[in-house]
């Protein structure tokens, strides 16, 4: 199973800044292993960020997003103690959801 995400959510004025790191290979499907066999593509396809159940960001990714992906963005609202929930799903159907509290 994939390692947990590292999520930082900080209240800045009337907004919340979210920074997330995800543990994922993001394999392109274009590389070959030592034996010359193509390493199959394996990458996160969808990401969703919610704040108190409301979606604040959703994304679709291809394999050109860098390994161990990083995203930083801001949304209006959010108070210290509110919950941020982030979910990703990859092309194998593996999924991971993690939560953080706005600081």
């Amino acid at each position: 199973m994939a390692d947990p995400m590292r999520i930082r959510a900080n209240a800045v004025g009337d907004s919340t800044e979210v920074k997330v790191l995800m543990s994922h290979e993001m394999e392109t499907g274009q590389r070959k292993d030592a034996q010359g066999k193509t390493i199959p593509a394996w990458f996160i396809q969808e990401v969703s960020v919610t704040w108190n159940g409301k979606t604040v960001l959703s994304a679709q990714w291809g394999p050109a997003v860098a390994k161990n992906p990083f995203v930083s963005f801001k949304f209006k609202g959010g108070a210290k103690g509110d919950k941020i929930t982030i979910t990703w799903v990859d092309n194998r159907g593996d999924k991971r959801t993690d939560e953080a509290t706005i600081a």
Partner: protein, 158 residues
């Protein structure tokens, strides 16, 4: 529900992965939800025209209201290239990143619901020196800005 799911990108947000998972609480990851929503066609193109077609838009207009930030002119390693994009276009609904010379142009699409700032940063891979496009959808129309990023060799080279 199904129709809404498939048009998530074209609609520029609205239905989302998590709300769908929540609505259909019985769904499990093995149900391959992602494959159903993910815009496969858009991620398999290798020209701007084809990508725009797959995204459901026309030729984007060049815009000076889209800016790159924290994005270097030269990347020391193509495996990780930081990209920051800000849109000053009113009602920005989504921001996409495209790399002209990657095997497939589209790297990522971010849908921004109202209330989310039209500004974000992430990291992409680049196979070689190339133009990178920031494609913005606002009020249903597409706009674009581009920047060349050189990919160099650092270190001992072996």
């Amino acid at each position: 529900m199904n129709r809404e799911r498939r048009t998530v990108l074209r609609a520029g947000g609205g239905a989302t992965l998590l709300s769908l998972v929540a609505a259909a609480g019985w769904l499990r990851p093995s149900d391959a939800l992602a494959a159903d929503v993910w815009n496969k066609a858009a991620f398999e193109t290798n020209s701007m025209d084809a990508t725009m077609k797959a995204l459901g838009g026309g030729t984007p207009a060049q815009s000076r209201d889209i800016a790159f930030f924290s994005t270097p002119d030269i990347a020391e390693n193509g495996a990780v290239v930081p990209i920051g994009i800000t849109s000053a276009i009113p009602n920005t609904q989504s921001i996409a990143i495209l790399v002209e010379k990657n095997p497939n142009m589209l790297a990522a699409v971010f849908d921004l619901p109202p209330g989310t700032e039209p500004s974000l940063s992430t990291r992409i891979k680049m196979g070689q020196t190339s133009n990178v496009y920031a494609l913005v959808k606002a009020d249903g129309k597409y706009y674009v800005a581009s920047k060349e990023i050189k990919v160099t060799l650092g270190g001992c080279g072996g």
